[in-house]
């Protein structure tokens, strides 16, 4: 990190506030310091507290100056139409995630309105964290889907409880309609739930399959998952030490960033067949996709290289390759047009601009 000139600290003191000088250490320039101070003041103005406003501002600035992320200091982060609560121990939602989630919601919505035969929409969000993806998709589909089932799964009990808190928080803010519980006539029900589970455990897949079979018996027709979405940990061990920002390294949970298998050597050998340690979650997620056969899959990745590795993994297995002939890699802003590129012997489409951010798979019949 380059050294900041002392004159800049003087300028911050004079032009902004005495609190701006310590903030400058983490914000690194005057405009972003001014913005963060403004957001702190706005937050103080709208949230009542017994602590006097000036003291609160000082406390916030002090915590932020020590490198704590602004989202943990203020306790919230806007995500699409929602306000997501953030707590230490759970990863903060990123704007890139927000961008592809909104795009994904748009795709699901248009495909739902195009064939109204498919009444039920089921979404499975693995490694859900704050629950932001699940909640935002639920919000986007709520108005048009009469049957909507969203499930968020995380291994961390903190994350699951925070996701549930976020659901009730956004219900209280009127950002979400009240989910309709399943009634006698099951034609109109919208449910969203968050459960704790380890996606690497063998029992995870069997419970998911059982649930699917139950649903099929209820509805008397083929019900495949509509979407499997996941933002798994994907940073390598050296990458964590080298590439991550200091606030991320020191304050955000390592569990949500660096893939580590806790199950011991059995799991490691099972999932390490020619797979890099930072890609083990993708191997498992593709396994899950192969069994549950969701119509669409979206996996967040760190970069174009990792995205290509995931596509390689997909092509290595014949079954999954046949199941998902339509492969896209989305960049940071997936609103723009396509480019075509071949990875291995497979042509894929690259969407948007920025760094490679997610791998999108779509079944042939969609």
């Amino acid at each position: 990190m380059p050294r900041l000139p002392p004159s800049l600290f003087w300028q911050a003191r004079q032009a902004l506030s005495p609190l701006a000088a310590p903030l400058l250490r983490v914000c690194r320039d005057l405009p972003s310091t001014a913005n963060e101070l403004r957001w702190m003041r706005e937050h103080i103005a709208v949230t009542p507290s017994l602590i006097p406003p000036k003291l609160r501002l000082w406390q916030f600035a002090e915590r932020r100056a020590r490198g704590e992320p602004l989202q943990y200091v203020l306790g919230t982060q806007p995500f699409g139409d929602l306000e997501i609560k953030c707590r230490p121990g759970v990863l903060i939602p990123r704007p890139e995630t927000e961008a592809y989630t909104i795009e994904l919601g748009r795709i699901l919505l248009s495909s739902h309105t195009n064939n109204p035969k498919t009444k039920l929409i089921t979404i499975l969000d693995l490694c859900t964290g704050t629950g932001c993806i699940a909640l935002q998709l639920f919000r986007q589909l709520q108005a048009s889907a009469t049957l909507l089932r969203v499930q968020g799964i995380d291994i961390s009990p903190h994350a699951v409880s925070l996701a549930r808190t976020n659901l009730s928080h956004n219900l209280n803010l009127n950002n979400l309609l009240v989910p309709r519980p399943p009634t006698e006539e099951a034609n109109q029900s919208q449910t969203i739930r968050f459960t704790q589970a380890d996606i690497f455990s063998p029992s995870f897949l069997t419970t998911q399959q059982q649930q699917q079979q139950q649903q099929q018996q209820q509805n008397q027709d083929q019900v495949d998952l509509d979407l499997l979405v996941s933002n798994p940990p994907y940073i390598s061990q050296p990458g964590f030490a080298r590439d991550t920002a200091r606030s991320v390294r020191n304050h955000e949970p390592r569990l949500a960033l660096v893939p580590e298998l806790r199950g011991g050597s059995d799991d490691a050998t099972q999932f390490n067949k020619g797979v890099l340690p930072e890609d083990i979650f993708y191997a498992r997620l593709l396994d899950i996709a192969k069994t549950l056969r969701p119509k669409r899959v979206l996996l967040e990745v760190a970069s174009m290289e990792q995205g290509s590795r995931v596509v390689d993994m997909l092509t290595q297995d014949d079954d999954t390759a046949k199941l998902y002939p339509h492969v896209e890699i989305w960049r940071d802003c997936p609103h723009a047009e396509f480019q075509r590129q071949t990875i291995g012997d497979r042509e894929i489409r690259i969407r948007g601009s920025g760094e490679g951010r997610s791998v999108y798979l779509c079944r042939a019949d969609m």
Binding site: N35, F79, T97, N231, G239, A302, E355
Partner: protein
Amino acid sequence: MLRAFGRLLGVQRRNGPWSLFNSAGPAQRFTTCPELRHKQMPQRPKPPPEDEIEESFLKGSGPGGQKINKTNSAVQLKHKPTGIVIKCQATRSRDQNRKIARDLLAAKVDILVNGDKSRAAILEVTKKKKADSAAKKRRRKYRSLEEEAEAAKIEPQIEAESGTGAAGTGPKQILHDEVYPL
């Protein structure tokens, strides 16, 4: 248990105005006395079509996603036909900033295209009219108040003078003498 109870309460509380947060049409207004507003102001201008806009997010190059946690949510829009550039970092949400920036751009384009007939100009004129009329009313009110105060100031003098007039040396007495000389 407590939380479940709270959720139950929350559910009951929210049985009311669904339409408040459903994005209904822009024409809907929630007022009980529509006759208060005589003149309908022009609608907010629609943002220009997406293919005329060049959008960029002001973020440094390098890794993104989980690796960094930038609070920079700025959005910059460039309107290609006119060359107007808008930068917006009003909120912490990039999605909201994108919407706000599009509204700002629409307003600027509206001013450029419609001039005096743009929404902003019409609003300005209406506002000025209101302010002028309020100022006029204020002036009138204070002028009449001042006049009353002056009148009130003169009256006690008159009374005092009429009190002393019993001695026969006040101006009123003189006036009286002048008009009706005895």
